[in-house]
Amino acid sequence: MPLENRPLDPVPAGAGQVVLTPAREEAAAPTTQVRTLYRLGDPALSELGLEEFLAELLNRVQEALQVDTVAILLLDRESNQLVARAAKGIEEEVERCVRIPIGRGFAGRIAAERVAIFIADVNHADILNPILREKGIRSLLGVPLIVEGDIIGVLHVGSLKPRTFNQRDLSVLQIAAARAAPGIERARLYSALEHEHRVAMVLQRSLLPKRLIDVVGVTAAARYLAASDEVGGDWYDVFELPRGRLGMAIGDVVGHGLTAAALMGQLRTALHAYATENHGPGKTLELVDRFLQSMPEFAMATAAYAVLDPETGHVRIASAGHLPPLVVGNGKARTLDVTPAAPLGALPYGSRREHELTLEPGETLVLYTDGLVERPQTPLNKSIEELASMLEDATTAEECCEMAMEMVPLEGLRDDVAIVALQNGSIPSELHLYPPATAKVLGELRRVLRRWLRERGADDEAIGEITLAVNEACANSIEHAYSPAPARFGLEASCENDEVTIVISDLGRWRAPRGTNRGRGLTIMEAAMDSAEVNQTDSGTEIVLRRRLHS
């Protein structure tokens, strides 16, 4: 009897199942159809993508064995179940997402014991999947899919008429399984990575700020570059805090991929939320650390957080294992000696010391992640020095970021890179502001004015009182603004021989105060300044306020 027609050697097994000893490859005569199965091992095929590759496998197996159904179930390692992934003749398996626990039923047993199983009559056999019976399948033959000793799934064929599968059939199915399994694994791995990469990129992008702050006298700039093969956990943030202060944060979650990107998002949100509660940088990092360690699975992260008061240029900053910040301006760049405390997630009770500094007008504070400065065979402090000297001539926050990009290799970025810069710009010696006549501008006007007065040498008391007077004059212009046209009013300030002159002008007419409350504005202006004049001009009202800064 020719080899291929010999009946299968049965080994006694569970109800209706026959476990088969593996067939020899020679049992399958190398027909055209069998040759197409050999070619399933061609690596080029697995570049098709998982779906196309499986579809190709189904077709070739069906042709080679002349069967009614072919199905591929792949192992889901997390649940330890086989999941129907591709099928022909029994497409319902995939549509209904059939899952078979390892060790149970027909396919489950093939995977658990890594054996081929033949079922001569489905009606009298132990099978788990009702679809097989519903479709009227009578006979089944299945083999395991194995890659480098690991089970990755099951391939089985079925016949609607009773069929005794022979040695040749088993051999053909084994060839298909052996040739296709590595390709399936490659394609599966590739598509999983591809998917994760895409999700992580979207996540990373959605979490970085869309728009940086826009405050008079302060400018911010930032860059984020993803690594060439994987996203990382870098983030930056710039936000406004109550009373005109600004927060700037940077961080780097250890690790890569979706997990790191997701954790990055949580940390960024947590930091922003705690910062808004007005905790200083040290306390904010402590709270973020506690939040991080409360999560069931956490990774370490480094972070730095700084708060700038634009009125004074005063900065408070704290670091959790992050690289030293840079201060750039006036043709110089220096690294700040900020003792970095332990990274977030490293110690159960970390305290974060705050450092203080003052940004002179025109100076920029720069925070960055290690992706910018880490080079093979170069000590970190050397490449940080290199970065500092590169930024020496930067005159704006934007220039700092742009010049820093020269540190980045043109291709093959191994780690993601984030850099964020905040400049305490200089305020002109004279103010000429024409803001819209709405009460919302008052807060920012006061801050610009306080800063301008401080740079003119005014003390705290003078700053407070002059600000109060100017605010009253502006509020008057706003309340009496022309409607409905969107009106503006003018605020002009100059300082000569230690005397400040501030002129607030509008196109409306000065309204005589009504009642005691309304008159209070003028009282304040007169009390706070050396002189307060209200002039009616042809075009509107002008209030001229004067005060000597030092008596």
């Binding site: 109550p242 008052l442 605010n471 509020a475 409350n517 304040i524 009390a527």
Partner: protein, 117 residues
């Protein structure tokens, strides 16, 4: 946000702690929020301005209006404005420091009210 408002209710006394800056842009919302937080059965409102960095004439007007609102409901307003606070210098410059009764702390504000409560 220029200002924050925290409300604390102790028995029949409402303590409203205002921090930040009060000006024309937020004074109406603050007045509405404080009034809203003071129920009809409350005996008194303690308005704590010790954490206020900036107060302009519209903020002073807020104080007067709140006092009128409360008086019409038979309720008392206690103002916590410490002597050297920014809010106090605003009252001084506006020339009303002597017309507005103030206390130095929330505790001082509560002291006379305990018996009533």
């Amino acid at each position: 946000m220029l200002a924050d408002l925290e409300i604390d209710v102790r028995e029949r006394v409402v303590i409203a702690r205002l921090t930040g800056e009060v000006d024309l842009s937020n004074v109406d919302q603050l007045r509405a929020a404080i009034t809203e937080a003071t129920p009809n059965h409350a005996l008194a409102l303690i308005l704590d301005l010790s954490g206020v960095d900036y107060l302009d004439s519209s903020g002073i007007q807020l104080i007067y209006r709140l006092r009128e609102d409360l008086r019409s409901r038979g309720q008392v307003l206690r103002l916590v404005i410490p002597s050297h606070s920014p809010a106090h210098s605003a009252l001084r410059i506006a020339g009303v420091a002597n017309h507005v009764e103030t206390v130095e702390s929330v505790e001082e504000g509560l002291s006379g009210l305990d018996d009533a409560g």
